[in-house]
Symmetry: C2
Subunit: 554 residues, 2 copies
């Protein structure tokens, strides 16, 4: 089997399908932004990287083990060729892409196995347990927190289980509005299959095109429309996980009070407790219409207040998303497409209008409001939203920017590769806290990042959005953009990341709102020693010999 | 301190405040129902029970331990008098009340302690751990699943910790709409305090008047308005629990993805992991108006379909509640207040109208729909509901029955004492499953109960309502009414309960939707051996010497 059989074929060295590249260099606004803010004088040609050139340690797979694994899954599904091993040895974080571009990984998975069904997953785990191997479950491979690579110093042979074959929809219960689906299914395939029956899961993380249901559950993911549909923890009614101690399937019930919630003990287990093989998820009728509107605010703080008001009304829209001034500037610059003719005129008129009202575009904070449902429902909700927003100093920028956001919602990570080609540090990190703590946290994290970057010798631009709002609080999603410290890009990145995490912890906020812990956040979780012990004991119960994704989460 | 200091003083032998009795005997409709359905020929005078007459084993509290406990909490808060011990030795389940009426408990708590703050809770647990005592946390004392009594064969001295003094509101964050509250606060007090600031928790279980925040969290409770506000698991943002291994306070964040959900591992822990001492809960503005409407359906099945339609619209009302035909008949009979003059005329006209439309009152299934919010919001929602209901054969019974339900929502358990006085078996049990499995489960559980009752020699009436609806399923709440088997009332009850639980398990449903496990459901949880092991390991992590509420949950 070629890895090309996997439906969504990613660039091994970056984001997105191999034939899609972002067009950073074509935009004068982008060039101007990079020049004026970061001193980037000219763009370099896209780098040409050959996978064959990536140096990785030799595989330690020997004949007897190969035979054993091949006996379970068939020789063609037991892969230790260079390409498969490189593809499965890291995720898609900044650190990962930098290392790939350096054409050197100091550790790599020894063998990639593709089980065809749950029975084979069980057999593989039994084999790995018996042989004392390390096991890394692998969905779409988009972890940005070091969730997929072998732990430094791992002495055991490392087996990566790619769940690409476990991609069937096992059943849709239209009455109960649930779907039972295998964990290896990718986002678009799942939505297509649900859509055929008129449903949607409504889970659209930015990695949507390249990530899987199992990955979403394992990392406690949250989609861009979490306001309407809920994070993956709300969407999962029940799940099935193969652990070294046996298989667990939690009850398929809408709610239960027979003790602590067992399903919630497994969502977010990051492969450290077992391999999630299927889940029953709550689905909804596909909305008849989508209606997205953009509003401009003079400053982030006011936009936050407006967002809080809307989410606390009790009938929130399908999406709320707030950018701070820096992010508005950056996204206008980085996402800019030159307008011509009527559109250019319209854009100029809009800017003139904003300026007349005392706004200073593009130094704006924006609020994106999305409605999903029948046209009637959307209109009704929009009227409610408009009424609430009338209490704030803001201007509607209309539908076109909303439509554009919807159309390009998964594109941003593509840009990262172009920025990396130009030796820029580009990364994101997220946290969440209560509303009363949100702005102080925002200031503290930005300050910490800026100071750490300064200490590393390169200034950094921090831009921020809020994309998950709750009645009691919200997430903060920070993007970082600066020049790489060429002598030690990963050291520079770690220093900044650590400073951000320290500020988050100091404010009693959480180190991850939806990316998970992986290896990168292990040292900065907010668990007390007893809480850590709870998680450790659960792992020991399900994985007593510690073969499952060692070093992740815990 | 008198136990009278506790704000809500329950009858020791039944439900409700001591000076409130239900007026069963005054209603001819009730008498007629009991006579025709159960052969009850005449009502007996309310029984007169003296607490002093209840025989319990002597307390094993000795001088040195008394001194030790008194040293922590003060002598006046360390109680081993007969009254305190009887009040704290059982809950409020049928089995409990039968045993109290038999004036004999074969086991009892040895001492009741009233800590005044968290520090004292910590010290008590340390003392109990050192002395190897059994500890039972006690909130309002309304467990109906045997969550408060010592395990049969318990050899250790039993200490009950009553949290009545931990009843302060520690803080309200109006911006984030959360309140941090001590666990021993009772429902009405909590709502009063929140109400002063314009908020409500919206958590109204039937035990509301006599149960506490900590009890709700420990048993994973759900209120009658769960549709709008969510069960207690949704309402708790963070909690603080004192365990024998130390105190845990989970992060106060709206959402987190740093591994499995630690808060959800503690909600539903039933005192077996530790003593919940406080929690931060999500509150909402108190609704400006409440508007409750009753609709009649010819049969339960159609009403279920209507309920499912409403809850799956995505904008459900604040409450939906469906009674089956038996429950409608029973509640008209048991809750009947004779109408006079205009009201009697109106009632007769309504019945005539229903009959003309082919309905057979009181053989109806009813749907109660509650709206809570601004008058505008309620009107808008009611129009949406009416549009959906127009597709079903149903008749609006108007607001007055809805208003009456609201006014008497906590009254039903009061009636139980009168029925017990007449040697009737009266109990409830609940479960939950998906919509597609709901009606089959309903039939199976009813059949199992009826058969088990028949085998015990006394027929039984089973009436059912659905009071918690979710897009993917709903709860079923069964009430049982029959004649007591005088020779062995508890054996009769156990046989019926076991049969119901077996049917629930056979259908893949859950043994408890919101009452918890306690001791009564231990043998019928739907956990696999591995899931049980997960819960056992968590207990061992937090309570390695097994002092916390032994025999409950696990």
């Amino acid at each position: 089997m070629e890895s090309a059989d996997r439906q969504f074929k990613m660039k091994w060295w970056g984001w997105g399908a191999e034939n899609v590249r972002a067009a950073l260099s074509q935009s004068p606004a982008t060039l101007d932004f990079l020049r004026s803010r970061l001193g980037v004088e000219g763009l370099e040609a896209p780098s040409k990287l050959r996978l064959e050139s990536v140096r990785i340690p030799d595989s330690r797979l020997d004949g007897p083990l190969r035979e054993k694994l091949a006996g379970i899954i068939g020789a063609e599904n037991c892969r230790d060729d260079h390409r498969e091993r490189v593809l499965h040895s890291v995720g898609k974080g900044y650190k990962d892409l930098v290392r790939l571009r350096q054409l050197e990984l100091d550790k790599a998975t020894d063998v990639v196995v593709y089980p065809r069904n749950e029975v084979e997953v069980v057999a593989i785990l039994a084999c790995c347990r018996e042989m004392r191997l390390a096991v890394i479950p692998f969905g779409g491979g988009t972890s940005v927190v070091g969730g997929l690579e072998a732990e430094p110093g791992e002495q055991r042979l490392v087996v990566t289980i790619d769940l690409a074959f476990l991609n069937r929809v096992l059943g849709i219960d239209e009455i109960s509005r649930t779907a039972t689906v295998e964990a290896g299914i990718f986002g678009p395939e799942l939505e297509t299959r649900l859509s055929e029956r008129g449903f949607t899961l409504g889970h659209f993380p930015q990695s949507f095109e390249f990530s899987t249901l199992g990955g979403w559950i394992a990392t406690r993911s949250s989609g861009q429309n979490s306001l309407r549909y809920g994070g993956i923890d709300k969407l999962v009614e029940s799940l099935r996980i193969v652990t070294p101690q046996g298989t667990v399937e939690t009850l398929r019930v809408p709610r239960r009070a027979d003790g602590p919630d067992l399903t919630q003990m497994l969502i977010g287990s990051e492969g450290a407790y077992g391999v999630i093989v299927s889940a029953t998820v709550r689905v909804r009728p596909k909305p008849a219409a989508q209606d997205y509107w953009m509003y401009a605010f003079k400053d982030f703080r006011t936009a936050l207040e407006a967002g809080r008001t809307l989410v606390q009304t009790g009938v929130p829209p399908a999406l709320l998303r707030i950018t701070d001034e820096e992010e508005t500037v950056a996204s206008f610059a980085l996402g800019h497409r030159p307008a011509r003719g009527g559109r250019a005129l319209k854009r100029r008129f809009g800017q003139w209008l904003l300026t007349r009202k005392g706004f200073r575009p593009p130094q704006l904070s924006t609020l994106l409001v999305g409605f999903e449902g029948s046209a009637d429902h959307n209109d009704r909700q929009r009227r409610v939203v408009r009424r609430h927003l009338s209490r704030f100093e803001c201007v509607s920028l209309g539908r076109s920017l909303g439509r554009r956001w919807l159309a390009t919602r998964f594109e941003l990570p593509y840009l990262r590769d172009e920025l990396l080609d130009n030796h820029l540090l580009i990364d994101t990190l997220e946290t969440a806290t209560t509303w009363s703590g949100l702005h102080p946290l925002y200031v503290a994290v930005r300050t910490a990042i800026e100071k750490a970057a300064q200490d590393q010798g390169e200034p950094i631009i921090v831009f921020t959005h809020v994309s998950h709002l709750y009645p009691d609080g919200a997430s903060l999603y920070f993007s970082l953009l600066g020049r790489q410290k060429r002598s030690d890009p990963i050291g520079q990145w770690w220093a900044i990341k650590r400073a951000a995490g320290d500020a988050i912890r100091a404010h009693g906020a959480v180190i991850s709102h939806h990316h998970g812990v992986g290896m990168d956040h292990r040292a900065q979780t907010g668990w007390s020693p007893i809480e850590r012990q709870m998680l450790v004991q659960l792992k020991q119960t399900l994985d007593p010999t510690g073969i499952m994704n060692p070093g992740k989460l815990l």
